[in-house]
Each structure stands twice: as structure tokens, then as C-alpha cells.
Assembly symmetry: C2
Homo-oligomer: 465 residues x 2
């Protein structure tokens, strides 16, 4: 992973040009570089040589053009919340921080769409939309930037109903690897006009170009929203409730699983009252008053079949917010189970019919590993997470944690699933990408080479070239 | 468009190898070649030199490998229903007919998905699914093959609720331009694992590879389905009903517009009773009994505001089928307005807020052109069609028809829309692709070159290389 001093010396002319072009919008300060050399994952920091704080698409294009001229690596940076090492500057180079590109450019309430600069966060967008009666549903937990969410094909708790970034990005502005500014997609709801460039960049993790603007679908805030919590005697019953709910076609907006360990941690961390440390589902229903009622009754009937506790209901905004804040804080709650350790958050996703087997085998594997690793997930999509707690200075424990992650990924793939439902490949999942996609990797490599022939865009991530 | 005799002579070794390899699965008969040299559009026939009837992915791979070796053009063929000249063998070469690859490979009712060979048609799939309580909603009117529908990113009447092929294809088997067999995507509902190769091939019109298998999302047949017909004093009122329905977030399953001329033609052609030749909406609602009722009442209230006639209701399957058959036969009905002429079917799609302006300006343009060209469309998506009737032997009339199409496309693009919502680019829309996408065309060209360096896959279509 190290970069030779000789290579780094080659970067010098580019760094000087960037400092001249960007002045106090560029920094080589160690603290700034360190901050930009990692995400929220467990990977050790690899700082870039320089950070550029872009304020416009033209800034990004200028920075990339200078880097391209000197073949210097470029790593786009949003809010730093990625989990699989996407932000690490493995070969040094330049981090382009887009967080100051935080303008909502337009909201077309009539067309249920908007255009934002890449640094706008999802919470900022929803705050901006407050008066319009619209919202943007994709919610990966972290208050990530919409550019970063696009680049990692993010999803989260609402995806079971509203889809992921794949379904909700209508178009993009992208700076290509040679520093050109390109617009993809458009504002029409559908189009059969040419290759789907938008979807090529959604999930490309900064390896094909830098996303600077995003056109997004919006939705009307539902007339009625209602949440429910239900607890189960065992994990299998909770998962089976989810499977039957999805198979019945109930348009549930959120259905989240927490295993007993995770629920115990959340009760303490988020001061949830009236619950036990048991396998638990957090549900949410969106619709008209009548349809929310209907959906909730349908799910309750299924839940009863599997021995679920009485639904703890709420349609009060305050209570709902507390519940979902607790869900979003699950990672931090999990970490309190072993405060001196680090958390390794990993995710996998399988077809819903294999979800019970995959989760139960994973739970058994966790128990046999002797590690603390609660299970939590967006189970309506077949997507779930492990948060493995490990001591980075304990090589044996780290090896056990990595082994558990490795087995989880191969298990998900064997069950017809994917090694990542939403976190992306980064550096953490590279070994599993080939296992999952086989020969198709050659096409991914051809695409990478076509769009980034000098391999300067976030090099060393996703696929090796 | 002509191919020199010298080039054609170079094809000979490949054609001989193909005849040896495929025996009576290959044909050079003139009638067979002519049949494979056009779709349902108005473009004159360009026959291929040979047609291969593939029975397996391996057949396709073998045929492509032989063609690749000798740089002979390859054109995939499904049911021949494409409208923009996708199937014309502009430079001769080999048409690979996939219609005999018509096996439904698996249905996973529990996961709401299935896998089909590319030659399975949408009606065949729905017939196959009949006993399962599931259906595949994408319905472009023609009984097209699912491979062809994937390749053109088809949509149709149900797309307003269920999305297009873009949203409903989970994965593919593809034969690459060098004859390798590659699987893309998977069965998980979502994945953040690598570039979205599936969506690269959806809508690629045979120019990047040949789709031989498709993994599709399925849906439960709704508990209740109800259709309604409503007629309006003018086109604007009909379109405004659509706009407000969509903007209100009503999850309508189908909402189709027919202008007065089209409705008049359909009344005669399909023997519809009790209607007038006025601007008309055909609507369909899917859901539980309660939600269908609720949706219909909401739309009726909007329709009343715009002077719509009393809803003509039906939830009888037989009546509904008659209605939708009439809608699907709109093209044939339109052609009866001038039986000696040819039909030029074109489509465009705009953001819903611009739909009224775009349709009304188009109607005015049609009136001023002196042509017969009814308007019909999947207006819930902002997508509509013109069927222009013209005499191919009347150069002046043909020029007027082409002028109308050209202005429609530029108008749609100027309104923030696309030159094709669902028919694809083929050869008919190539001039507008650049107008719509600008600099992004360079990325499309880079992709084409990366996946098909010798330009043998459906050459001369979509983008010029």
C-alpha cells in the first residue's frame, strides 16, 4: 500500500499548480490530510498529499485536469462517512472535498424532483424541502452527502419501499478523468435515449469520475405515518415475520431487525423504555390514514402468527423520531458493548427466501467466534449488517473478525446474494467482488479503462486494474 | 447505407463457418433474410446475409465468436416489433434470431423473481405465471420478447406505477462482442457491489452484446383491479387531469391519453360503445378493494374539476381486457384513418409539468402540417406518441412527416425531456441523441469502443463510432 518516494516526487509539480490555483482553498496541513485519509471504517489512515476544497464544478474540473496532466491520484470526499475504505489515499495524491458545494440548485415541486450540488447532505435537503410537503426518502443512517450516497449506491431504512440511489437519481453532472464536465440523464421520468450513463456513475465509488451535481426524485410526505415495534421469542420468528410481510406484497416503508444483543445495547444507549433485550422489529407505514391502518393490521396478523409481542404503536412524530434515532445510533450503541474496541461494520444482502437461513447461520458463526457482533439490518430488502467489535492491537482477534466477515460474504454469495447491499466495495470488499461476479469483472475492468485510462480516479479501490 | 461488394466478400468465410456449425438452424433464404431486415417501423428493409436461429446461449456465443473472428456485423432479433430501425442490417451481416430461446428457466415465487431466456415474450411469461398469483407488469403493447424489451429499455402502460425495464431487470446473461458468456447482477433486491453492468446492457439496443437470459422482478396480482374511462371537452383538460393526478401522488397503475382523432379511430376499429370521439383517458387502479376505491375517488374528484365526463367504470375482467386491447390496437386503428398510407410511430417524454404545453404545441403543429397524426400516450410518465400517416411514395408528404418528428423531438428536449421515452434510438433517433446529451456522447462512444472494439454489434445504430 505504500507509495515510493520517487512516485511522490512526481506529484510535486501538480501539487504546486494546485496550491497556486486554489490558494486558501487548498491545504497540505497534516491534520487536514489525516482527516481526509479515512472514512468511518476500521481501516488505518492513508492521508492524501493535498486537499482541495471545491466550491464549484469548475473547481473540481480544474483540479482534476491538473492531476490528470501529471497522473496524480484523485479521491473525492463528501462527509467522510463511508465504511469500506473508499477515502483512503492508498497512493497519496489529492483529496477533493466537495462539502462546500452545498447548494440546493432547484426544487421542481410540480415534477417531484430537485437538483443539488454533491455536498448537500440528505438532512440538509429534507430541511430545505420542509415547506414544500416533499421529502427525499433515502436514508443510510449517516447524514451523508448526496454525492457520496450516489457514488456508493446508498440505500438504508426506506429502500424497501422507495428504492435505493439507483432508482432515485435522474441525472448527474460529472467531471471525467480528463477534467471535462459532462451531464448525464435528464428530468424526464424515463428515457430510452442511449446508454444509461447515470447508472454507470451511481455506485462507481469515485473510480470513473467525480459527481458534482445530482438530480433526484422526491416524494410527497405521506398523509399518515405510523411506527410500530414488535419483539419476538427468537431471531427466526422475527425474520419469518419479515419474509411473509414482503412476500405478501405489503408496501411497508421500513422494516428493521435488531437481534437481542443489539436491542439490549440500544435500550441502554438510547434510553428506550418498555422493551426487552429480545429480537425486535422496528416498522413504519406510509400512506393515507386508511391504508396505513390496513397495512399495520396485515403486518400485525403475520407477526401474531410468529409469536410477536403486542405491537407498540405510535403515530406521534416525537416518539417516531426517538425510535429512528435509536435505530440510526445502533452502531454507536453496539460500540458501548466494548468501549475499548473498534467496530468493523460489514453488510451483505440475500434474496428474501434465504434470509432466515443466512442470518441464523451467521448468528451461529458469531457465537462460535467468541466475538461480540450484533446483527442489525434493513431486512425487508434481505440486507443486514454485522458490527464486529475487535481490538486492533490484538492480531488474533482481528484475524477472527476478518474470518467472520469473509465467511459472511461467501455465505451471502452462496445464497444467491451480494457481498454488499449498500456499503460498497472500497478496499474492504475487493476480494469478494470477483467471487460474486466472475467473468463479468472483465467488463468492469474494460469500463474502468475506457473512462479512466491512466487510473488516477480513486485508484486501488473496487477493482484492481 | 450501402455495403460495398468487397466488404460483403469478406463476410463469406464467416457465413460458411456458420452454415457448417448451425446446419438447418441457419438460413440464407431471401424471405427469411427479408423478414429479419426490418422491424415494425417505416424504414425500408436492409436484409442480413444470413440468419442464425439460436437455441441456447452457447449457440449465440458460437455465432458471435465466428462473426468476431471475421469482423462481420451481428444483429440480435427477438420478435421484430421494434420501431426505430434497430433490426435493419445496414451493412449486411448476421441476424441472430432468439425467438426459439423461449424457456422460462425458473420462477421464485417466494422472492418475486424469475429467470427467462431472451426469446420468451411478455404474454408467454404472464401465461406461465398464471397459477402463481404473480405477474410481470411491463407492457409495451406489442407482445415483444423480454430480451428485446430489455435491450430497448421498454416500458408502456404500467410504467407509471411499476417502472420500466430499467427498474425491473435484476440481472442478465450476455454474450460479449468477442463471444464470451457473462452474467451480470444477481438475485438480491439491491447491491452496491461494483459497476452496474446490468443497467449498461438495459437499453443498449444490441450494440454492446447480446442478451440471452433475463432475471426479472415479479409482482403479486393485485387483490382488486378497476378500470375507468373519462372523456373531456378538450385536450388540455385531459392532460391537466393527468398532471394533477401524478402530482397528488396517487399510485395509479395506468393512465393513458387518446386525443379526439385517436379515440374516434379506436371507437370504430375496436367497436367501443357509448363513447364519443373526444380527448379521453383510460385509467386503471391496482390495490386492495379499499385502496382501489380510494384512488378512484381521488382521480374522479380531479377529473370533475377539469370537466371530465362521468367515470365509465368496470372491474369485470372481460370489459377491462376489451378496453386495454383497444388501447394496444391504437396504432392499427390509427392506420385505418388512411389505409393506403404507412404509419410513422414516434415517441417523446417530458417532465410532467411541461406535458400540457408540449402536447398542445404538438397538436397545433400537427394541425398546421396538414397530416393525419393522432396523439396517444403513457401520459402519467410524461410520455406520448404521434402516429404520422404518410405516403412513402410522396416525397413532399414524407418530408413534412419527418419535419414534424424533428420538431417534436427538439421540442421535447427543450422542455427538459428526452427524444424517446421508450422506443429507443435505433437509426430513427440518432440525430437527436447528440442534441439531447451533448458532451456525454463522448462517454457513450468510449463505452461502445471498450465493449465492442471492432464495432460488429449492431453497427450504425444509436451512436456513430
Amino acid at each position: 500500500m505504500g507509495t515510493s518516494t520517487a512516485t511522490k516526487a512526481n506529484y510535486q509539480p501538480a501539487l504546486e499548480k494546485l496550491l497556486t490555483r486554489f490558494g486558501d482553498q487548498a491545504s497540505t496541513a497534516e491534520s487536514v490530510r489525516d482527516h481526509h485519509g479515512h472514512g468511518e471504517g476500521w481501516f488505518p489512515t492513508n492521508p492524501p498529499d493535498l486537499v482541495v476544497f471545491a466550491k464549484s464544478t469548475e473547481d473540481v474540473a480544474d483540479a482534476v485536469r491538473i492531476c490528470a496532466e501529471h497522473k496524480v491520484p484523485v479521491i473525492p470526499y463528501g462527509t467522510g462517512t463511508s465504511l469500506e475504505g473508499h477515502l483512503n489515499a492508498l497512493e497519496g495524491g489529492v483529496s477533493i472535498d466537495l462539502s462546500q458545494m452545498d447548494e440546493v440548485l432547484s426544487v421542481n415541486a410540480e415534477d417531484l424532483d430537485c437538483r443539488v450540488q454533491a455536498g448537500v447532505t440528505r438532512e440538509q435537503l429534507n430541511e430545505h424541502l420542509r415547506a414544500t410537503g416533499l421529502f427525499f426518502p433515502i436514508d443510510p443512517g449517516a447524514n451523508a452527502s448526496l454525492g457520496g450516497m450516489t457514488a456508493t449506491r446508498a440505500s438504508g431504512t426506506n429502500a424497501v419501499r422507495y428504492g435505493t440511489m439507483r432508482e432515485n437519481v435522474l441525472g448527474l453532472t460529472v467531471v471525467t478523468a480528463d477534467g471535462r464536465i459532462v451531464k448525464t440523464g435528464g428530468r424526464a421520468r424515463k428515457s430510452a435515449a442511449g446508454y444509461d450513463l447515470t447508472r454507470i456513475f451511481v455506485g462507481s465509488e469515485g473510480t470513473l469520475g467525480i459527481i458534482t451535481e445530482v438530480q433526484l426524485r422526491l416524494y410527497g410526505i405521506p398523509e399518515a405515518i405510523s411506527s410500530a415495534v414488535c419483539q419476538y421469542p427468537d431471531l427466526e420468528s422475527a425474520v419469518n415475520t419479515v419474509i411473509l410481510t414482503i412476500q405478501s406484497g405489503i408496501p411497508i416503508a421500513r422494516i428493521e431487525l435488531l437481534d437481542d444483543i443489539q436491542m439490549g445495547a440500544c435500550i441502554t444507549y438510547s434510553e428506550l423504555e418498555g422493551y426487552e433485550a429480545k429480537p425486535t422489529l422496528f416498522c413504519e407505514f406510509h400512506g393515507t390514514e386508511a391504508s396505513v391502518q390496513e397495512q399495520a393490521e396485515q403486518v400485525k396478523a403475520i407477526s401474531d402468527e410468529f409469536g410477536g409481542s403486542a405491537f407498540a404503536w405510535t403515530s406521534k412524530t416525537e416518539d417516531r423520531n426517538k425510535l429512528w434515532k435509536a435505530r440510526h445510533d445502533a452502531y454507536f450503541a453496539a460500540k458501548t458493548l466494548a468501549p475499548t474496541k473498534k467496530g468493523m461494520a460489514t453488510d451483505a444482502c440475500v434474496p428474501i427466501s434465504n434470509l432466515a437461513e443466512c442470518i441464523l447461520e451467521t448468528q451461529k458463526d458469531v457465537q462460535e467466534s467468541g466475538l461480540i457482533a450484533p446483527i442489525v439490518g434493513h431486512v425487508g430488502d434481505g440486507n443486514f449488517h454485522l458490527v464486529l467489535l475487535f481490538d486492533p492491537d490484538d492480531a488474533e482477534e482481528m484475524k477472527r473478525a476478518k474470518g467472520l466477515v469473509e465467511r459472511l460474504n461467501h455465505r451471502a454469495i452462496a445464497y444467491g446474494g451480494t457481498c454488499t447491499g449498500e456499503h460498497g466495495i472500497g478496499i474492504g470488499k475487493m476480494p469478494y467482488l470477483t467471487a460474486e461476479h466472475g467473468e463479468a469483472i472483465s467488463l468492469m475492468r474494460a469500463l474502468k479503462k475506457a473512462f479512466d485510462p491512466d487510473n488516477i480516479m480513486n485508484p486501488g479501490k473496487m477493482i484492481s486494474v
